[in-house]
Each structure stands twice: as C-alpha cells, then as structure tokens.
C-alpha cells in the first residue's frame, strides 16, 4: 500500500504546506435570493479562503468543495496557531497535485455550516437568539448557488476545475450541470449522484443520537449545555462508515488499549472503542450539532438524477459540457465503486470526455483525504491537460 504514509516530515506538517492563509468573508445581500425550500434569509455570510494567484486571463481558478464536516481551510495554516495545515494540504500547495504555483484555488464553507458561514449556529440578524432549528433546510443546490455568488463577487467567470470528495463531489457534479458554461473540468472523488439507503440509514442513526440527547432540547441549547453526547455518538457512527473492515482489522484488530487482559467491565477496552470515543470527543469542540443535522439532511436529499433529469442520470448530465475525472476507492463502502460507475456510464452516454479509475485502497471512504501518490499524480496530469487546452483555445481567439 502506498497510501497513508506520513507525507510531511515535521510533526505539524507545515514544512511543505502552502503557508499562512486568512479566512475571508463575503456577504450575499440579495433580497431575491431564495433557497430551494422556498425560504429567504436576510443575509448570508460565506467564509472562504484562497490559495495561489489568479492569472491575467482569470483562467486558472480551481474551486474546491469540502465534505460533511470540513471548512474553508483546505490548505496552509493560520498564523499564530499551532494547528495542523488545512484538510487537503496533501493535495493543494506549491508543486502538489493542485499546484498553487499554477492555479488559483478557492474553498468556501458551505451555507448551513458552522465554520464561518451562515448556519443554524448563526445569530438571527437584528435579534439576540441563534437560528437553531429555525434555520431553513438547506440543500446541495443552495450550497452551490452561494458559491456561484462568491465567484461573481471574485469576478471569476470560468473555473478550470471544480473538485471535491464525498458531499464535496456532489457539489462538483451539481456545478457541472447548473453552470455548464463556467466549468471546464470536474473531479468528483468517492461520491455518488444520490445517497443509497445504507448512507441515509447511517445518517439517520447519527441524527437520532443528537436528537435523543436531552441537551439538544429541539435545537435550543446554550454553549454551557450542548448535546455533546449525541454529537459525539453521531461522529463515532460517521467514523465507522469512513473506515473499512480491512483498515479496522489492520489498524486495531482486537488489540486492547493499555491493557493485557479483558477487564470484565463495560469500560472502553478495545483500541477501536478508544479510537471512536476520542474522535467523538474531539469533534464536539469544533462542530455544531444542529449544523450536523442540516448538512446530513442536505446530503440525504441530494438526487442529481431527480433534480436535473426526471430520474434519468443520462438526462441529468445532458446539460454538462466539462471534462470529467471520476475516482472511486475499492474499499469505500459508503459510496461504493458501482455508484461512481453509474456516474461514468451517464457521462459516457452523453459522449462527454470522461476518465475513471478505481484506486486500490484498504482505507475505506476516508482514502480520498489521505496521501495517495496515484491519486495525486492523476489529478496533476488531468489538470495540466485541461489547463493546456484552455490556454491553447485562448491563443486561437
């Protein structure tokens, strides 16, 4: 296995990183901006970060989407903190797959999130209280329409590529059919056109855990009394779906944590139990429980075929014009390869330019976030070809 090695030499991972970045904010002050559910918000703030420089022709912009619990901090690091670099620092940076010496990379926190963009944990304008469960139900379409507003604000009319994994891949595909004339290429990773019953089921159990926490209180909770138990259980469930049988067997097996023998109690004893507990506890510090409910719902609701093709994936992608690179991972049981192959089939039937590779990996769904040489090299080669094509067509004009 080539994946999962520690790519960076120092412990913080900053050595090969893009460098310091700052979170920026943009507000949508459009009274006509209606969400898919029909509701309007007085104002929407979108947090975003950029990496690299926009070229003269504005032809090198790459829009990156984060997944369920990510944020705008895709690469680099914030000054005056000791935090590790952004969530896709192994892919985005100087000389990396998405080379910030060549491309201008943008990543925003989607609407409904809790990392700087307007979401259930935001304060209602002109009032003291938070939205909570009064926040309108948001969809992948809403996320993408907000990102389009951000592109307008940045005066970017063409995207060399749009890319993301998981829920990020859904946004990438949505971009390709919603704004086909803007998008030159799409790289959907470990994703699907619609959630399977399995994926919805796991999300529902996670939501149920939050809603069953007495502290949740129908979404009205204070900082002092948050539904941390429910949220951490939700995160634990999520983590199981991001791993695979094989990766859990290799990583944990039946190993015990700091013990030689079973203690015949109900404390966490197996390493896998401790791992999940730790992941759950770590998560509640940075994530809002209501946001988790809204975002998982948006992922469950997404159905590209229904929304754009009356149930036909071929019809849905008939609007697309971009070149595609679709990637799946062999041990991903949350969005298995057959779901990526369905995307590929629909693209082929529309005679769109599509490449597809199922990367052999035992790391499960998480594989798209971990260092993988093969993935990096494919993205790099693919982007270089698209960029070359764009530059050549500009010269011809």
């Amino acid at each position: 296995m080539e994946a999962a090695c520690n790519h960076n030499s120092d412990s913080s991972g900053r050595d090969y990183s893009y460098g310091p970045v700052e979170k920026q904010f943009f507000s949508i002050e459009d009274k006509d901006f209606t969400l898919q559910c029909g509701e309007k918000l007085q104002s929407i703030t979108i947090a975003y970060e950029t990496f690299g420089t926009l070229d003269e022709n504005k032809s090198n912009a790459v829009l990156v989407f984060h997944a369920l619990t990510g944020d705008s901090h895709a690469a680099g690091f914030y000054k005056d903190t000791n935090e590790k670099p952004g969530w896709w620092d192994i892919v985005i940076g100087p000389g990396k797959a998405i080379d910030t010496d060549k491309y201008f990379v943008i990543c925003s926190n989607f609407i409904g999130g809790c990392m700087g963009s307007t979401g259930p944990s935001s304060t209602i304008p002109g009032k003291k209280e938070l939205y909570g469960m009064n926040f309108p139900v948001i969809t992948v379409t809403d996320m993408v329409r907000c990102q389009k507003k951000l592109m307008d604000h940045l005066n970017i009319k063409q995207l060399l590529s749009v890319t993301g994994g998981s829920l990020g891949g859904m946004q990438a595909m949505e971009w390709s059919v919603r704004y086909p004339d803007m998008v030159k290429s799409v790289i959907p990773l470990a994703t699907t056109m619609k959630h399977s019953a399995l994926a919805i089921a796991f999300n529902e159990v996670a939501r149920h855990a939050i809603k069953s926490d007495p502290n949740w209180n129908k979404g009205n909770y204070s900082d002092e009394k948050k539904p941390n138990v429910g949220l951490s259980v939700a995160r634990m469930i999520g983590h199981i779906t991001y791993l695979s049988d094989e990766s859990m067997r290799l990583k944990f097996g039946r190993k015990l944590q700091d013990k030689k023998d079973l203690s015949f109690t109900f404390d966490s004893q197996f390493q896998v139990e401790n791992y999940l507990k730790y992941q759950g506890e770590k998560f509640v510090d940075r994530f809002d429980a209501n946001s988790f409910l809204y975002i998982t719902k948006a992922a469950d609701y997404y159905d590209l075929e229904m929304q754009h093709g009356n149930g036909s994936s071929v019809k849905a992608f008939s609007k697309a014009k971009a070149k595609f690179l679709v990637i799946s991972f062999s041990s991903d049981w949350l969005y298995p390869t057959y779901e990526s192959k369905a995307i590929v089939k629909a693209l082929k039937k529309n005679r769109l330019d599509v490449s597809f590779c199922e990367i052999e990996s035992n790391l499960g769904h998480d594989a798209f976030l971990l260092f993988n040489n093969r993935l990096n090299r494919m993205i790099k080669g693919f982007l270089a070809t698209v960029y070359k094509g764009v530059k050549e067509s500009k010269n011809e004009i």
Partner: protein
C-alpha cells in the same frame, strides 16, 4: 514506439475520434494525441495502467472492454482499435460486432499462431508452443485462444466484414524495428494487423 503500433498509427487519419480497447499504458493513444491530434478514449482493466494513462493526460476509463463498449452509440468513433488483445477475449465474435457498431473502422492485431517456429515446436518437439509473441506456458497463459492469419480471413467471410487493409509483420531485434512480410505471410509473419469495416 513498437513496430506494430507504428503501422497502426500510420493508418489513422489526423483529428480522428479513436477508441482504444485494452489500451495498456496508452503508448499508442499518447502518440496519436500528440502527433495526429486525435480525440482519444481508452479502456483498460488494470488500475495501475489506467492511472498512468490519466497521468499522461489521456482520457481513459477503467473497466472491462466487453461491457464498457456497450455504452457507446453507433458510429461514435472513427476508429476502434484492439491491439494484441483478441487472443485474450472470451467472446471475440460479439466484441468485434460491437467494435464494428461503435467504430466506423476497426483495427485488430494479433500474434500469428501459424508462424513456422510455432508449427515446428508442435510438430518436432511435440509440445505446446512458447514463442516471443506468446511467451507463456499452457498453464499460465492469458491467451485463451490462438489463431492464424488464415483463420482471420475465414472469420471475416463468416462474419461478413470487409478487410480494408492488412499488414503481416515481423518485428526485429529492437521492438521499434521490423519488416512487412509479403512472402507466405501465414508462415513467416509473427503478427497480423487488419483494418476492417462493415
């Protein structure tokens, strides 16, 4: 580039739309893209080879050629190429039919099993032949069927396709060199390359 691929490349018109089945690491498609400005699609089953193709900037899909080809509409491609893979195909008849459906022209190449060295191994040594072109033992070969240039001619009559062009060749010591065999090709050529059409 390999001699047999050079011959195939010489037959392809510039700016064609080309489907390469079992395209491997994409040597031929890469050459054609950069020298003849073709619009390429490759299909390859091995993930490591697919990744190498994509890295080079080729549009290549990982999958089984027999099922992947079904997604394309009639006459989607100017050329559909199956280079040195026919002997590994489970159902050549239906694959070639599919190739003739999606491609306006089809190019097929395969090792010639009637080459005199192969004949002599069977006749004189009395053993299953092993050659440079078919280097496997009977127990580990991926080549589940073997055929001679003559067989392909008979096959074309049976299936009713036309042979537009053919080249019987013998690569030299260096794989990039070789010669065309015009004298008794079924006996002296190690490979056959055919362009066929409906």
């Amino acid at each position: 580039m390999r001699f047999d691929l050079q011959i195939i490349a010489s037959w392809i018109k510039p700016e064609s739309i080309v489907l390469g089945l079992g395209c491997g690491e994409g040597e031929l498609l890469y050459y054609l893209k950069n020298n003849k400005r073709i619009k390429e699609t490759g299909i390859e089953i091995k993930d490591s080879k697919v990744a190498l193709c994509i890295e080079k900037g080729l549009s290549v899909l990982q999958g089984d050629i027999n099922s992947e080809i079904e997604d394309y509409a009639d006459n989607s491609f100017d050329y559909c190429i199956l280079s040195q893979t026919l002997q590994q195909v489970y159902n050549p008849e239906s694959l070639i039919k599919e190739m003739l459906r999606v491609g306006k022209k089809v190019i097929v190449s395969f090792p010639n099993f009637a080459h005199y060295k192969i004949r002599s191994q069977l006749l004189l040594a009395g053993k299953a032949p092993v050659s440079r072109e078919l280097p496997y033992q009977w127990y580990d070969t991926p080549n589940i069927r073997v055929l001679a240039l003559e067989d392909f001619k008979i096959f074309s009559n049976k299936m009713g396709f036309e042979i537009h062009k053919k080249a019987a060749i013998k690569p030299g010591e260096k794989s990039s060199e070789g010669k065309i065999i015009n004298f008794l090709p079924n006996l002296f050529a190690t490979y056959g390359i055919y362009e066929i059409g409906k």
